[in-house]
């Protein structure tokens, strides 16, 4: 029979990265940097080193491993290591940072009010998406407050998109007020109408 059962297999990757993990984050082959990235989250100073190395890492898969280790760390320190990359001009890095923050949304929560009032509209826009993964009791008031004072149409649209999923009837006034401020923006008017319909039409509870 050609089916064979061997004893032990060759392990698929180094069981632990050899030598200085932090130095290896920015040196060596893709495979070596990958291994270092996966190990760095567990060692002292690793979180900051991961955040720094992200700025210069060109390989998308190694970057992904950097971000995953930061998500695993799930600390405010890890959140702060990721945050600067939310501002990146590189879409891949920016989205990698957003994905990572969404993976630890509860941990990132203390930073969110600041992100939602960041001078950079792109940051405010992306911050809305992080709220999607928080309990609605916390997220909805923040989104409503943003809608009341936000002047950038795309940021409003981002908030409305999230409210369409997580909002309740208490979000309706803020949505209506926003639509009134942006009557000349057909997409925003359309999406507020759609979001309001989703929120407003709730079947009654029974019992």
């Amino acid at each position: 029979m050609p089916l064979i059962r061997k004893g032990d297999a060759e392990p698929s990757a180094p069981i632990g990265a050899d030598g200085d993990v932090i130095a290896a984050l920015t040196n060596g082959t893709n495979d070596q940097r990958w291994a270092a990235a996966r190990a760095a989250g567990d060692i002292p100073g690793g979180v900051q080193a991961l955040g720094r190395a992200l700025a210069t890492e060109a390989d998308a898969r190694v970057r992904e491993a950097f971000f995953t280790s930061l998500v695993r760390a799930r600390s405010l320190e890890a959140v702060d290591a990721v945050l600067p990359h939310l501002r990146s001009d590189d879409a891949n890095l920016r989205i990698g940072a957003l994905d990572a923050l969404r993976g630890m949304a509860a941990t990132a929560a203390p930073r969110l009010p600041f992100l939602l009032s960041d001078p950079d509209a792109d940051v405010r826009l992306l911050a809305c998406e992080i709220l999607r993964d928080l309990p609605s009791a916390d997220a909805v008031p923040l989104l409503c407050r943003l809608l009341e004072r936000e002047d950038q149409v795309n940021v409003c649209a981002s908030a409305v998109e999230v409210l369409a999923e997580i909002g309740g009837p208490d979000a309706l006034p803020a949505l209506a007020a926003c639509a009134a401020r942006f009557l000349s923006e057909p997409f925003l008017v359309f999406s507020i109408k759609a979001a309001s319909a989703r929120i407003g039409a709730q079947s009654p509870g029974h019992g």
Partner: protein
């Protein structure tokens, strides 16, 4: 390309309300619309039903629009040269240049108006006005 394929558009955007808005505009203009929520799903969808046009947003989870475009343009054959209209919240010259470098055929700044989308979709699909 058969007439039916000429009218198939793949809308790639992670916002459900944006996809809804574009679908509304494109279907009224006679297009058939498929949807994907990010660049990864876009590859799956376009392998199943190659579209005549891609409408690709930039900021999408797991795989952003620029990364998707660069990978798309590396594909051999007709799929790799599918026309791509990039949509982005960025209005800067450098952003448009970056999109072109990644392989975009056209660029529209969000929010995209429905008639603008329909107009450029027709142009990029080679459909007379």
């Amino acid at each position: 390309m058969a007439d039916g394929d000429k009218r198939r558009v793949l809308v790639i955007d992670d916002a459900s309300l944006v996809r809804l808005y574009y679908r509304d505009a494109l279907e009224r203009a006679g297009f058939e619309v498929d949807e994907a929520l990010n660049g990864l799903e876009a590859f799956e969808k376009l392998m199943m039903h190659p579209p005549a046009l891609l409408v690709v947003d930039v900021n999408m989870p797991r795989m952003d629009g620029m990364t998707f475009l660069r990978l798309l343009r590396r594909q051999a054959g007709p799929i790799g040269s599918t026309p791509a209209l990039v949509t982005s919240t960025e209005a800067g010259v450098q952003d448009m240049a970056a999109a072109r470098a990644a392989g975009a055929n056209f660029y529209l700044t969000k929010p995209v108006a429905q008639d603008t989308l329909a107009l450029y979709a027709a142009m990029l699909c080679g459909i007379p006005a």
